[in-house]
């Protein structure tokens, strides 16, 4: 039981962490509250399905293709919609909700509302401490850790990462230092779309593929980003794992816990925020305190 909670918590926590990193990147850099973020996750899961089950492409190849397409779609959305009205924060949020609805409806029309299954990347299972675990679970955990490490290296060790962080800290000064802010925003949008895509590709064989699969992760990702403190990538990763474990523990320990999974992880968030209004790793300026 405990081993199952640990493994499944790591899988969903990892997926949420990858999603949350992408979400908080684009929020930090471009100040866009992108509600369509998890829709990109849904899109890649469907593209993976189309690539493997309908076109018969090899799994790895269609996975990479799906991730690239997700990044491209995110960049197109940014150029076509978000960039034009970026000074109206609420309108951007509504457009992102509308985009998510649009993608959902397109896939509902094309594929109807059935739950679909995608083959595993690595078939087979092994036994650890008496519990049988599929290789796909281990693969998902491994990939999410590798991706988070890659993002960390990208942000802290490269010139692009420096530019991204400086834009996040202060747009205008970054612009004065010769950084092309709108290009950085576009790149970050692409990276964030690809991160959502990687999460989608990795968990698609474990969870089912469905046009409405973006709603639940969206709630958890929003909760994780807030719980960890806005602007803090480290915080959102840790919070995503906390919420992933809380959710999995409820599913396994409480009878009828499947219904309560969202409720419990959000209750965790509410309790933490009541104690620490700035989130776990957020910074609150003294003059903002009320």
């Amino acid at each position: 039981m405990l081993e199952m909670i640990l493994i499944n918590g790591l899988v969903s926590g990892g997926a949420y962490a990858v999603l949350a990193v992408g979400f908080s990147l684009i929020f930090g850099v471009a100040k866009i509250l992108n509600m369509a973020h998890t829709a990109f996750y849904m899109i890649t899961a469907f593209l993976l399905y189309v690539g493997t089950m309908m076109l018969g492409l090899p799994l790895i190849f269609s996975g990479i293709l799906a991730v690239l397409i997700a990044g491209l779609v995110a960049m197109i959305c940014y150029k076509l919609f978000f960039d034009r009205i970026k000074e109206h924060g609420t309108a951007v949020m509504i457009i992102s909700i509308a985009l998510a609805l649009l993608f959902q409806e397109v896939f509902l029309l094309g594929f109807s509302g059935h739950y679909r299954r995608v083959p595993s990347f690595v078939p087979g299972a092994t036994e650890i401490a008496g519990v049988s675990i599929t290789y796909q679970h281990l693969f998902a955990i491994g990939i999410s850790f590798v991706i988070i490490a890659c993002v960390w290296v990208l942000l802290s060790k490269t010139r692009l990462g420096n530019a991204i962080r400086s834009v996040a800290q202060d747009r205008e000064i970054a612009n004065l230092m010769g950084i092309d802010v709108s290009r950085i925003c576009l790149i970050v949008m692409g990276i964030s779309g690809m991160l959502a895509g990687i999460a989608g590709v990795v968990v698609a064989p474990i969870f089912m593929v469905h046009p409405l699969m973006w709603v639940h992760p969206l709630v958890i990702v929003l909760a994780a980003v807030v719980l960890g403190g806005l602007e803090s990538i480290k915080g959102s990763v840790i919070a995503a794992f906390i919420l992933g474990f809380a959710e999995t523990a409820v599913i396994y320990l409480v009878p009828g816990g499947g219904f309560l999974r969202g409720a419990v992880s959000l209750s965790v968030m509410v309790v933490v925020l009541m104690v620490r209004p700035e989130g776990l790793f957020g910074v609150l300026f003294e003059e903002e305190r009320l």
């Binding site: 609420t90 509504i94 509308a98 929003l222 807030v226 409720a263 903002e288």
Partner: protein, 357 residues
């Protein structure tokens, strides 16, 4: 008698007919009251009744989020709580809707005050997310205690609002008009009698400055939560008695988002924007459902309308229209038709920039 009528006409001319926004609102009210005389199609009336209920709901979101700036992503909480409360009182104690709807609204006020407590500590995005979590948590509770709450099916078999569809129509629409009027008056920043409008605006623009000016922001934020909860609760109670089911769909995340979509589509922090958003978007979507093709693509069309309207009118459709048809006289600050060349009160020229060109 004739003198009296002439006086009323003069008053109407000055206060309603010469101000484009009010003229549109007046025509809207007349049309709303005349709909049952034009058609007695049950389906059309049903759509208009639901539109009236959703108009109250969207406007109550606008009252809280647009005016006080407390962005609430889980507004369905108030709606759902009131729907469930009035449903349960109706089912278990056999009270009439006249009593259960107020009970539901008061319950929504209590929930609104409870939900307002985090608002005293949190702000902006953090608050938005905490409010988003409440209906999700409550949905989980509803499913977990399905013996009491009816689970996925909800509580059904509630008593009707009134005997007939037309009776339902007039009840919901009159409640809507009265609620909207009250909300509009309470948020009118230009009012000399009710100060809440200007205070709500001040809290949204700069809370610390509002506080420094001697406004008890805590009290006014809680007031906004309570009022918004009350009107959302009225909508919820009416809804549960009209469709005769109080189910978990009233607490859904997408239902909360709908209120936000309607309000921002129509124009945020204007009560009439929310109403216009509902009356433009909701019937369009519902009438599409009549056709077999339309039923499949209606949400696609909904999303496309939203995206393209907001791309070209990012402040909302009513604000865009208002700026086109209304012009404020620069000398005496009276609102005029944009077609006029001179102010109707002081004869000052209205389009100064255009004349320079």
């Amino acid at each position: 008698m004739v003198e009296y009528l002439r006086w009323i006409y003069q008053w109407f001319r000055g206060e309603v007919f010469d101000i484009p926004g009010r003229l549109i609102a007046f025509i809207f009210v007349i049309c709303i009251l005349l709909v049952p005389f034009i058609t007695d199609n049950q389906y059309v009336l049903r759509i208009f009744i639901l539109a009236a209920i959703f108009a109250i709901f969207a406007a109550s979101w606008d009252l809280l989020a647009g005016f006080t700036g407390q962005i609430n992503l889980g507004h369905a909480l108030f709606f759902g709580v009131a729907a469930y409360t009035s449903g349960m009182f109706n089912l278990h104690f056999h009270l009439s809707p006249l009593i259960t709807i107020p009970i539901g609204s008061i319950m929504a006020v209590i929930v609104g005050l409870l939900a307002g407590i985090p608002a005293l500590r949190l702000r902006g995005f953090y608050l938005a997310l905490v409010t988003l979590s409440f209906p999700v948590i409550l949905t989980g509770v509803v499913f977990a205690f399905s013996d009491f709450t009816g689970g996925e099916l909800g509580i059904y078999g509630l008593s009707r609002l009134s005997g007939s569809r037309i009776g339902d129509y007039y009840i919901t629409n009159l409640v809507m008009l009265v609620s909207l009027y009250i909300m509009y008056k309470f948020t009118d920043a230009g009012s000399k009698i009710i100060r809440t409008g200007v205070i709500f605006h001040a809290i949204r623009e700069d809370e610390i400055t509002a506080r420094a000016s001697g406004i008890n922001t805590t009290r006014y934020k809680l007031l906004a939560f309570a009022m918004s909860g009350f009107f959302a609760g009225v909508a919820g109670g009416l809804y549960s008695h009209f469709v005769r089911i109080a189910g978990p769909s009233t607490l859904e995340l997408l239902f909360s988002f709908q209120a936000i979509l309607w309000s921002i589509f129509g124009g945020i922090s204007t009560i009439y924007g929310a109403v216009a958003g509902v009356y433009i978007l909701y019937p369009t979507i519902e009438f599409l459902a009549i056709y077999e093709v339309g039923d499949k693509i209606r949400f696609l069309i909904f999303a496309l309308i939203l995206i393209f309207t907001l791309l070209f009118m990012p402040e909302g459709i009513t604000v865009w229209v208002r700026d086109k048809i209304e012009i404020t006289c620069q000398r005496c600050k009276i609102i005029n038709f944009a077609l006029r060349h001179h102010c109707r009160a002081c004869r000052a020229p209205l389009h100064l920039e255009k004349e320079k060109l």
